[in-house]
Subunit: 351 residues, 2 copies
């Protein structure tokens, strides 16, 4: 998956309902030549999102292709309807992209490769349909060797789902690179995979291979960089998803952990009868559960303050969070992850 | 899967290499009409294993079928070669069973349903090939409701793989029933599923559904019994399999845990560079990790002493184990699980 120039489909959802599109625009290396959104066609990206590269917004793939002078390698599906299905209203755009010789990259539950119409059209035009949620066939059990790589490894862990672990991971990589550290992002979910252009969708792997699928990625990159930042998933006390979290924790064998939390969150999202335990309980749990496999301490905190409007109040909340966890903390979106990268450099990397 | 009279295939492996066959013979409700082993054909089961129901050992399915007067509902594959493949030398027996109208039940990695020859023959004869390692299609994420069932729930947890969690679970169910408790076994692995005749193979479920696949079983049985004993898998600090363990822990929402260990084990089996943490560390980890989702204490211990020849020495080791864990303990094979069932009745069930 090595696409230099892409179009991102975000019909009727750009920008606020297009998390994947925004993630790719903000953190991906790909050049976004156009966004597809029939509701805002004719606008520019900067009319809605000022802090990413600008691009036209088109109503159809045909229009986007023309606006990009035909310089498009791939169409990315940048939105995910509830349920992860494929919207039939996208079919013409996807077909037009295939017929224009573009790959199509999708993080939907619905696999494009299992859609006979699209699969045969792709075959005919010699392009690839890449379903990033579909694990590859060669995954197997972990061998226990992630701890042997040259790179230092940091993992973002969370108090819950949807607290900003992917964003924190990507911001940490950016901040580390600004500090001259050769850092790389290790994606574990579909948006991260679309941004990075590679990776294993850990939540779709069979449970026996959870740690192994992370280990495979650590071994692949571990001797080529100084720092790997692994995108965590879920929470170790999530009633539904803790298996994924635990497999990533032991598969990554991180040297340091960054505890991610969303300000104001006090119960598991969507499982409101389960209150979050205290921050110190999370610190103990993550560290105590890591230790028998690979010693790891919480070395920094990332707090998502998007629900706090006032900058001063947000800064106070971040400071309180850092004190409660006992480590340097930042909101990676509001502040950048410089303070977190510094903490990683000083502790895990011992610089 | 409701087979009253079965033949078990254990070619060249009965009894010592036929763990699944022995498990079904010892704990299953099925009547074993014959064992297939071409190496010991002509012997009786009691020549090799005195403490299960006797049966003839036959060299072929045809001989076994004749010895059983044709009263056979199914052929169970009772052995698992390294790698989980299908041995071509079994094909004639499996074909003969299908042609005789028998279902075939297999815990192999190799799915009989994907073998065109066997699948079409089964179709022709109207019998079912049941691959117990293949999860059913309707699994989904946990809803967090396992804690709401009427039954008390106990889960066997371990210091490692292969310490006797399945056997302990089955012996606990037997001992509880002897004490007048309406107890049921909840299987999570292929041998347990073949014994019980139902269940989800948790290690083959996609990782997002790990807890959900356990919850489905708890909800199915939870209002029909007073006690559910859930078969645990792996260990919470296993470098490869901890995801499965964690998903079962939070999916089962057990009220009590039974810590299973093998005497003399001091490193992870097959991962010898990872020493086991202390028993008290396991107690803390399992309890602390359970608590935010559902409070559970370690209420008893099960120690596997098969490597200790002397009964007195074994009893001493069990006593030491119980003291170290701080709970009543037994070797369920050597002593039966009476002491464990009593501890469960007194603590979890509050009798």
């Amino acid at each position: 998956m090595d696409h230099e120039r892409i179009v991102i489909l975000a019909h009727e959802k750009f920008p606020d309902g297009a998390k994947t599109a925004l993630g790719v625009m903000r953190y991906g290396d790909q050049e976004v030549r156009a966004v597809l959104d029939r509701d805002t066609a004719g606008d520019r990206v900067h009319d809605h999102v000022p802090d990413v590269d600008d691009a036209p917004i088109a109503g159809t793939f045909a229009d986007a292709y023309e606006a990009a002078d035909g310089e498009v390698d791939a169409l990315y599906i940048g939105i995910a309807p509830i349920g992860g299905g494929f919207e039939e209203s996208w079919r013409d755009d996807v077909r037009d992209a295939i017929e224009a010789g573009c790959d199509v990259v999708s993080g939907l539950h619905y696999f494009l490769n299992e859609d006979e119409d699209l699969a045969s059209l792709a075959d005919e035009h010699g392009v690839t349909l890449r379903d990033v949620r579909e694990p590859h066939d060669d995954l197997t059990v972990a061998t226990g060797s992630s701890g042997d790589v040259d790179a230092d490894v940091v993992l973002t862990v969370g108090t819950d789902c949807s607290v900003g672990k992917m964003t924190a991971s990507l911001e940490i990589v950016d901040a580390a690179r600004e500090r001259g550290i050769d850092a790389a992002f290790v994606p574990t979910g579909q948006t991260g995979i679309m941004i990075a252009g590679w990776g294993n969708p850990i939540d779709r792997v069979i449970s026996d291979f959870t740690a192994g699928a992370v280990e495979e990625m650590i071994l692949e990159l571990g001797d080529e960089h100084d720092l790997l930042v692994v995108e965590g998933q879920g929470s170790i006390v999530h009633p539904a998803y803790s298996a994924v979290t635990c497999g990533i924790l032991h598969g990554a064998m991180a040297d340091g952990l960054v505890l991610c939390h969303a300000a104001g969150r006090d119960a598991i999202n969507g499982y409101e009868s389960f209150p979050l335990p205290s921050l110190s309980a999370y610190v103990d749990l993550y560290e105590d559960l890591s230790a028998p496999v690979h010693e790891a301490e919480i070395v920094a905190g990332a707090l998502n303050t998007k629900d706090i409007a006032d900058d001063g109040a947000a800064a106070d909340t971040v400071a309180e969070y850092g004190e409660a966890v006992g480590v340097p903390a930042a909101d990676p979106v509001r502040d950048g992850a410089g303070a977190i990268a510094d903490a990683i450099a000083e502790t895990v990397m011992n610089r």
